[in-house]
């Protein structure tokens, strides 16, 4: 045989497995239902629910894990791993009754010891640190009976059930030594596998105690590049994507239904109240008068979005009061206020914005243009998300920023506690003794009605002092392929895959 023939033979042999592979692994039959859901970032912090911090991670883990309680789509807190709970008259002890027959994804039953282990781990009672801020108030976790767990608090806290309902406070098996790489929960979906920066595969958990999920296989596909999202959707590689921009939804083809909801956050031009000139209330008010929210909505989101005037969004309907008219656009008044504050010719400052959040970048650009009318020159400084976290949020080394602040738990407190002067998360350095005093009252006021009144007073305080230039609760757009239905909005940052189903299923 000539050399050439040998080569040809070798090539042919080499091709056989490739052809065979192509032949035998064609499309799986569509007997089982599946969906591909796009997400903008991988779950990079941790798959351990107690250590997960990113909102994008928690919204996915919501399907895998459950706490003793969990939120429902209306924002109410409903029993999950616990079937019921009661609180002692003095408000110190919460007793949870473990639901019968709740199984972990590995098939074992949930026992009271697992609950004790999980809650103690979150609360930092076993030597570690407190993993969930709201649970630092726990004094002890006792197993009172085979299926009865008593949690005693250091101080009564009306918001405690909301903290327990947080996905972060999930119940996990005490036998699992590696929850970060081998997640086992009790939720409607179980974790199958992942490929970093590519996908995460979930499967319906057949042993789920509650209403089972409809779709068998869920693949989460990571698409960090905003330009690729629409192509992935239109091309058919992805069936669903949440939190799209208006522009993106306009580019979708007819195979998609666009659902509209609210993001449940407060987007604002947050001001560092500790630096000049923002330590002056007149300057802050002047900016609030100069910024035209309707114009921002018109230019950035086709008028979609809900203007807000304080640090609370409408989904907290019980606590929310509409303060969006506190500062109607009034350039003359803004100029007067600036002059009386000692800045008749305006000033310059910079708005630090995380570059990966296009809606915030766009809002900052509009604001920068609007402020020129009162002689204020705002430079936009784009930074990467991690730099924003460390410089702006942690070190508070900034002048102003546009960002959306959401509630870390289903409590109105979570929106307002960050404005107490010495709060660890008070990144705006807001400081008003009247506010602190009012906030402290929340803990000693037992009556529900009076408490609601305090929440409203707190919101008014922020609006009156123009703590920040409040913009909106942003509209959320979800693209869902017309093969599916059942997408459900929550007043929290979660995605509930279990309610999705094939049309006609």
């Amino acid at each position: 045989m000539s050399k050439r023939r040998i080569l040809a033979l070798v090539l042919c042999v080499a091709l056989i497995p490739a052809v065979a592979l192509t032949a035998c692994s064609g499309d799986k039959s569509d007997a089982s239902s599946k969906i591909v859901i796009g997400i903008p970032q991988d779950l990079e912090d941790s798959l351990d629910p107690h250590e997960a911090t990113a909102a994008g991670t928690r919204e996915v883990l919501f399907n895998v894990y459950e706490g003793l309680l969990k939120p429902d789509p209306t924002g109410d807190i409903v029993p999950a791993v616990a079937s019921d709970y009661s609180v002692s008259v003095d408000g110190f002890t919460y007793s949870f009754i473990l639901r019968d027959g709740v199984k972990f994804h590995d098939g074992t039953n949930v026992e009271a010891e697992d609950v004790k282990y999980s809650i103690e781990k979150c609360a930092g009672l076993t030597g570690g640190q407190v993993l969930i801020a709201g649970l630092s108030n726990i004094e002890s976790v006792e197993i009172a009976d085979k299926n009865l767990i008593d949690i005693t608090l250091k101080e009564p806290d009306m918001d405690f059930p909301a903290y327990i309902a947080n996905t972060n406070a999930a119940i996990i098996p005490r036998s699992n030594s590696k929850p970060a790489t081998n997640p086992i929960g009790t939720g409607p979906y179980m974790y199958v596998s992942r490929s970093p920066q590519d996908n995460i595969v979930l499967k319906k958990f057949d042993g789920y105690w509650g209403t089972p999920a409809n779709i068998e296989d869920v693949t989460l596909k990571i698409i960090p590049n905003a330009d690729s999202i629409v192509m992935n959707l239109n091309g058919g590689a992805v069936d669903m994507f949440a939190r799209l921009t208006v522009t993106q939804t306009q580019q979708l083809n007819d195979n998609f239904e666009v659902l509209e909801g609210e993001m449940n956050l407060v987007q604002a031009l947050y001001l560092n109240n500790a630096v000049k000139p923002f330590d002056n209330v007149d300057v802050r008010r002047a900016l609030s008068y100069a910024v035209d929210v309707d114009n921002i909505l018109e230019l950035t989101s086709e008028k979609k979005g809900f203007p807000v005037g304080s640090s609370m969004f409408p989904a907290f309907s019980k606590y929310y009061i509409d303060l969006s008219d506190s500062y109607p656009t009034d350039i003359e008044k803004a100029k007067e206020l600036l002059a009386s504050a000692g800045y008749p010719d305006g000033f310059s400052f910079s708005i630090t914005v995380p570059s990966n959040y296009q809606p915030h970048v766009e809002a900052a650009q509009v604001i920068s243009e609007q402020l020129k009318k009162i002689g204020v020159n705002a430079n936009i400084k784009l930074v990467e998300w991690n730099t924003w976290l460390s410089d702006v949020y942690t070190a508070r080394n900034y002048e102003a920023t546009v960002i959306g602040v959401d509630a870390s738990s289903l409590t109105a407190t979570a929106m307002l506690d960050r404005f107490v002067s010495d709060a660890e998360n008070n990144f705006t350095n807001y400081s008003d003794p009247a506010y602190d005093e009012l906030f402290a009252k929340l803990y000693i006021t037992p009556g529900d009605e009076e408490r609601v009144e305090i929440y409203k007073e707190l919101q008014k305080n922020l609006a009156e002092n123009a703590a920040n230039v409040y913009i909106q609760d942003m509209a959320e757009f979800v693209a869902l392929s017309d093969k599916y239905e059942g997408y459900t909005f929550y007043p929290l940052y979660v995605q509930d895959f279990a309610k999705l189903k094939l049309k006609g299923q």
């Binding site: 497995p17 490739a18 052809v19 592979l21 192509t22 692994s25 970032q41 991988d42 990079e44 912090d45 941790s46 798959l47 911090t53 990113a54 640190q129 407190v130 801020a133 590696k178 970060a180 790489t181 490929s195 970093p196 920066q197 590519d198 996908n199 596909k221 990571i222 698409i223 960090p224 590049n225 330009d227 690729s228 192509m231 992935n232 239109n234 091309g235 058919g236 590689a237 992805v238 990467e384 998300w385 991690n386 730099t387 976290l389 460390s390 410089d391 949020y393 942690t394 870390s408 660890e424 998360n425």
Partner: protein, 313 residues
């Protein structure tokens, strides 16, 4: 032998320098793996504890040399973001980036050599002129933009592939390769245009040399002269260019992965930088540096084979 030793030394020094630079860069940019991991819930104590767990509180050089020591023995550490060994993570992604790079490179060679030969041989034909002009045009398009164009034309209009429908090699190899054809094309076309132009000018200038006239006078046919004499000489600068191009293609594939949603080294590198996941970043950069140096080594060897004058030196 001496040459090989010299190469090896350059290899080691380059990898050392590159990894040291990355370490220094991480030292200078704000934020670290602990802030990335804990996000907005971080308390100062929790951050400090996390830093200690991650070994970030140790002095700079201790960290660098301990990383280097383990890397030398094949231990790339554990990713902060994923909690799994960097080695297993990178091993599963290497075939993706490598296949994409090789496919793009093969396309450059397969496209540029015949076209280069054609347009130098029939310099005056209209078609050769068309190639010239379109080559000039294509050369100036950045691969990123070309990627978007390719997706639009072949994916959205002609439906020749599903944008974003990447299939991993371990699931379906055939689909894997067919998906990579278009990204590879986006990387290859501008490079192929440059390579074509280089080959053409190189052949044209060789053809004016004395030895060509001698070859003709000895009665050789045009084909003979072109393939047996001119091409051998003309291809040397092209090889140099292709060597450099291959390094460029590796970089280009990192970019094009973003456009085509290919989960290779590029995606991993970018997200790891954002998360300050330095074990992953260090390992990827060290591997890319090694690949580039290895390619240069191959180019040197190719010279020796093609050009007898360099042999024995």
């Amino acid at each position: 032998m001496k040459a090989v030793l010299k190469k090896l030394l350059t290899f080691i020094i380059t990898v050392l320098l590159v990894t040291l630079f990355v370490f220094v860069a991480f030292e200078m940019i704000p934020g670290d793996a602990a802030t990335a991991r804990l996000g907005i819930n971080a308390t100062p104590e929790a951050l400090e504890k996390m830093r200690e767990e991650m070994g970030l509180t140790r002095p700079f050089f201790v960290r660098y040399f301990s990383w280097l020591g383990s890397f030398f023995f094949g231990d790339m550490g554990v990713s902060y973001s994923y909690g799994v060994s960097v080695r297993s993570m990178l091993a599963s992604k290497l075939p993706i980036t490598l296949t994409l790079t090789l496919m793009a490179f093969i396309m450059v060679v397969v496209l540029s050599i015949p076209i280069g030969l054609y347009s130098s041989k029939y310099e005056d034909r209209v078609f050769a002129k068309v190639i010239d002009v379109s080559g000039q045009l294509v050369m100036s398009i950045p691969p990123f933009f070309l990627g978007i164009l390719v997706t639009y034309v072949f994916g959205m209009l002609l439906h020749m592939f599903t944008p974003g429908g990447f299939v991993s090699y371990d699931i379906n190899f055939g689909k894997f390769i067919s998906y990579l054809i278009f990204p590879a094309l986006a990387i290859a076309v501008p490079k192929a245009a440059m390579s074509t132009k280089l080959l053409k000018t190189s052949i044209l200038s060789e053809r004016r040399l004395d030895y060509v006239r001698t070859a003709y006078s000895r009665g050789n046919s045009t084909m003979d002269v072109l393939y047996k004499h001119v091409l051998k000489n003309a291809v040397i600068p092209v090889i140099t260019f292709l060597g450099m191009t291959l390094a460029d293609i590796v970089a280009g594939s990192l970019v094009i992965e973003q456009v085509f949603s290919i989960p290779g080294y590029g995606r991993l590198l970018i997200s790891s930088i954002a998360n300050r996941d330095y074990p992953v970043v260090q390992a990827i950069i060290a591997i890319i540096a090694m690949i580039v140096i290895f390619i240069n080594l191959l180019v040197d060897v190719t010279y020796q084979v093609l050009d007898p004058r360099l042999r024995g030196n």
